[in-house]
Amino acid sequence: MFLKKILAGFISLIFISSGVFSADLSNYTNANMDWKQFEGESVTVLLSKHPWQEQIEPLIPEFEELTGIDVKLKLLPENQYLTKVPADMEAGTFKFDVFMTQLYEAPKFCGEKWLADLEPLINDPSVTDPNWYKYNDFFAGARDVAVIGNTYLSHIAITAESQVLVYRKDILDELGISVPSTMDELLAAATKITESGKAYGITTRGGPAIWWPGLGYLASYGGEYLDSNLDIAINSPESIAGADFYVKLAQQAPPGVTNFDWDEINTAMLSGQAAMFLDSSVIYPRLQDASISEVVGKVGVAPFPTGPKGAKPNSHYWTVSMNEATENKKAAWLFLQWATSPDMQARLALAGILGPRTSSWEVDGLSEQLGDEFLDAAKKSLGGAVIPRVTPGFFERVDIFRAEMQEAILGNKDAESAMNATADAWSKL
């Protein structure tokens, strides 16, 4: 609404003055294709709030300058995002061209043909320069995610994160604990720290997303949610051992762990209340930000500890996809290509968003920016990482797992009966 813009602009004129934008686009114009072929058109983009979004959002004017395409951007926090997208998709009114997707929903989104097949666009020389875009530069894991569930090429990875161990160097030194490299050492260290009263031993997600770190523990004990035939494996002895370990570890977390989500585990680390953290590597750059963190310079990073069956942290690739209903798929692809290009992912990596491309881990200046300790730990963890097998109804399954795990953490039942109850409920779906 035009009137609205004028009015809002007028009110805030009292406070604000804006800058003029200009950027160096030579890394993009050297691609062997015509960026300007859709000048004057527009692309609508829906993003969930995420560090990747925070970093790429200010760069979007560069894309507009490069292509002459007008980008209409809409942001939503994750919870509302996960409501809006399915609601509009089911109603058949989803009108965004490019949007962030989660690989776990691939069976539903691809099965319904809500997502566009990107393969023809990648292979179309009029809109893609293969030597510039370098699709094979993506990790093999990221390329698997793109076609996850044996469907079609629909999810382009934008981030690569896996569980790493973030710990407080000062507390571990003071108590004479060496950095845990196995699961048993981890539990012993966490217990010792909590008992010392200096901080809680560990902080971990016990709320809605408990399944995400949960898989890392299960896998390192040899367990998994579903086996390779997609049969239920959640109550195998290995899975139960992993779940049991997680339940024990959660006892060393701050009170209220069953309601801990991203915000809470971050707060516990940032404020110095917890000494260890075994979740996504995304947290690390934040801990070094003095405006929010009490622990700048006191944290170390190590790879995921080894369990009886190796170190198998869970990993996650956020992806972007294109709406099948998009009218000008080529223009939307230009945006998608720009956002996932090697140069863009290198720039984002320097801002702390580790990318799913080999090249984005070899950028000049990356080790000065993030430190070799962090890069090595992240690389090592990602190398051994697992990813959950996705089936339709993935979120319903992990919700049942969440409820049972919470009962176990609260001491209402033991890990074995919780996992048996989970398997029982899964078999009825």
Binding site: G207, P208, P254, P255, G256, E264, G393, Q406
Partner: protein, 285 residues
């Protein structure tokens, strides 16, 4: 008197047209999704399969129990508190508008924002509530992170949020009672509390009933606060029917279950409010 028969119809038509235009398709859609069954042998292809499966599920019975627990305690406590506070406000002279503003202020805060605030206040580690308890020498509590107490505290948040609604309506009602009725009561030597019970509240019977109905329905539909504070956990301790229907609709892609729960809620609340609605209808004749 011909205009007398047409006149109420003219007043009614806009509302009816508006609601039919807006809701006819959603209602058909909901019922179709809930009961349509291609495999059925009936003349009209429908079946109660989804419904039957749902009511046999232990988890759904828990959902119903949580809903009833929350609805009953939240409705009754905030309704009674609303009457008491309205009466107190009516009695005092000094600082009346000060108290009125404070007491209805929860209504003004957006539910999402206040729910987020409650969530941090409840946090056992860094929440202000445990700090206050510890300051007075008590043990910290688990609040919403323990299966046994979570639903109680969710109910408290709901009471916090909606008591002002009751208070506002009842207080406005008390204000419409003519002053002379109260005066004659006090001349007759009836104290003000008895006057409330025996004179004011009966006059306001319809308004009270309506306040109760709407309070009841809002409690039944409570969503924002639960979704923000516990998402239905820990375990399934705060998962109500509405929370469940949210998950089935938007996360688990089982919209037929959402529709069945919606119809279940509709029928249940109609049954519950039918008596009250008819009672209000009778009053005017």
């Amino acid at each position: 008197m011909k205009n007398k028969t047409y006149f109420p119809i003219i007043l009614t038509i806009p509302v009816v047209i508006f609601l039919l235009a807006l809701l006819i398709y959603p209602l058909i859609y909901t019922f179709t999704l809930a009961f349509y069954d291609e495999a059925s042998d009936n003349f009209i292809p429908f079946s109660l399969n989804v419904f039957n499966n749902l009511i046999q599920e232990e988890r759904f019975l828990k959902n119903v129990y949580h809903t009833i627990f929350l609805t009953f305690f939240s409705t009754s406590i905030s309704f009674l508190l609303g009457i008491i506070l309205a009466y107190c406000l009516d009695q005092i002279k000094i600082a009346r508008s000060f108290f009125l503003v404070i007491l209805i202020s929860p209504l003004a805060i957006m539910p999402v924002v206040s729910a987020l605030t409650w969530r941090t206040m409840f946090n056992p580690l860094y929440g202000i509530l445990n700090s206050i308890l510890k300051f007075f020498g008590f043990e910290g509590m688990e609040w919403v992170t323990d299966t046994s107490s979570a639903l109680t505290w969710i109910t408290v948040v709901d009471i916090w949020q909606w008591t002002p609604f009751c208070l506002l309506l009842i207080y406005a009602g008390l204000k419409t009672i003519p002053v002379d009725i109260k005066e004659s009561a006090s001349i007759d030597g009836i104290n003000s509390f008895k006057e409330l019970i025996y004179i004011s509240l009966p006059i306001l019977f319809n308004l009270l009933l309506i306040t109760l109905i709407f309070r009841f329905m809002e409690a039944f539909k409570a969503f924002d606060s639960i979704m923000v504070i516990t998402q239905g956990g820990p375990g399934n301790a705060t998962e109500t029917m509405v929370i469940r229907s949210y998950y089935t609709a938007f996360r688990w892609y089982k919209p037929e279950i959402t529709s069945v729960i919606g119809i279940f809620i509709l029928i249940f609340t109609i049954l519950c409010t039918r008596w009250a609605g008819t009672k209000i209808g009778e009053q005017e004749n």
